[in-house]
């Protein structure tokens, strides 16, 4: 069972973000073990590219998944994609709402992409 830390901050403060809460339910259903701090995690799920960069520097091996919120995607996608390119194999970018040809984050989790 892989340990996952989820932190979405773009809409509300930590712990009250509805997207974060929903993703935690999905993660649990997909047999991930949710942890309280990023330090314990093998997988870190965030919606913030700058935070993803901080996690990359603080953790030597954790995999970071950046979820693109449709409301903030326009502003954050270029940074997220840049991190995915610079840290190939450690950073993955997945949309919360899929456009044509994309697979959204929930489907990726349910299909076991990050198991």
């Amino acid at each position: 069972m892989r340990k996952m830390f989820v932190e979405f901050t773009s809409r509300n403060e930590k712990g009250q973000n509805p997207v974060e809460m929903a993703l935690k339910v999905v993660a649990k259903a997909c047999n991930f073990e949710l942890v309280e701090t990023s330090a314990e995690a093998e997988l870190i799920l965030t919606d913030s590219p700058p935070k993803a960069l901080d996690y990359l520097k603080e953790h030597e091996s954790a995999v970071i998944i950046i979820g693109l919120d449709p409301f903030t995607r326009k502003n954050v996608e270029s940074g997220a994609r840049s991190l995915e390119k610079a840290y190939a194999g450690r950073v993955y970018v997945r949309p919360l709402l899929d456009l044509e040809g994309e697979k959204n984050l929930v489907v990726c989790l349910m299909e076991g992409e990050f198991k």
């Binding site: 520097k57 953790h59 940074g79 840049s82």
Partner: protein, 148 residues
């Protein structure tokens, strides 16, 4: 001495913290240049030991600029100039990047580990001495910076 240590790699920061505190120095470590620049502005340091290549941070960047987020660039050079400008007496930039693998590392060959005087600061740009485990030896970097 109060030393500022900046390196994006955790293993280099931890080794530097351990080695430098073991010989009696106070070390303040950062993983990126933006917070380090703030620290230079707000605190007084006796020495700054800086990584050469660091991932670009979101500081000041708009959506076009964010296309560079996380891409390594020679941030240590700019940060070293800033430290010298702000009066840090001893400043070193040290890289473990092979000079055949990155142009910024190749450029350090020009300096042959010679110290430069910038304002009133001694500044050294160098290829880092390494420990056996592939970790930077920040203690040796400091020693070289302090040596006559």
């Amino acid at each position: 001495m109060k030393i500022l240590l900046v390196d994006d790699l955790k293993k280099n920061r931890e080794a530097g913290m351990a080695d430098l505190t073991a010989i009696g120095h106070e070390v303040v470590a950062f993983s990126g240049y933006a917070k380090a620049a703030v620290a230079i502005t707000e605190s007084r340091f006796d020495a700054a030991l800086l990584d050469l290549l660091m991932p670009a941070e979101a500081m000041m960047l708009g959506s076009k600029g964010l296309e560079h987020l996380g891409q390594e660039f020679p941030a240590g050079l700019g940060l070293s100039m800033f430290a010298a400008d702000r009066g840090v007496p001893l400043v070193a930039v040290a890289t473990d990047m092979n000079h055949h693998d990155h142009p910024a590392s190749a450029m350090l060959d020009w300096f042959h580990n010679r110290k430069m005087r910038i304002n009133d600061s001694l500044v050294l740009w160098m290829h880092s001495p390494m420990k056996a485990e592939g970790i930077k030896d920040w203690g040796k970097v400091l020693k070289q910076l302090e040596s006559g």
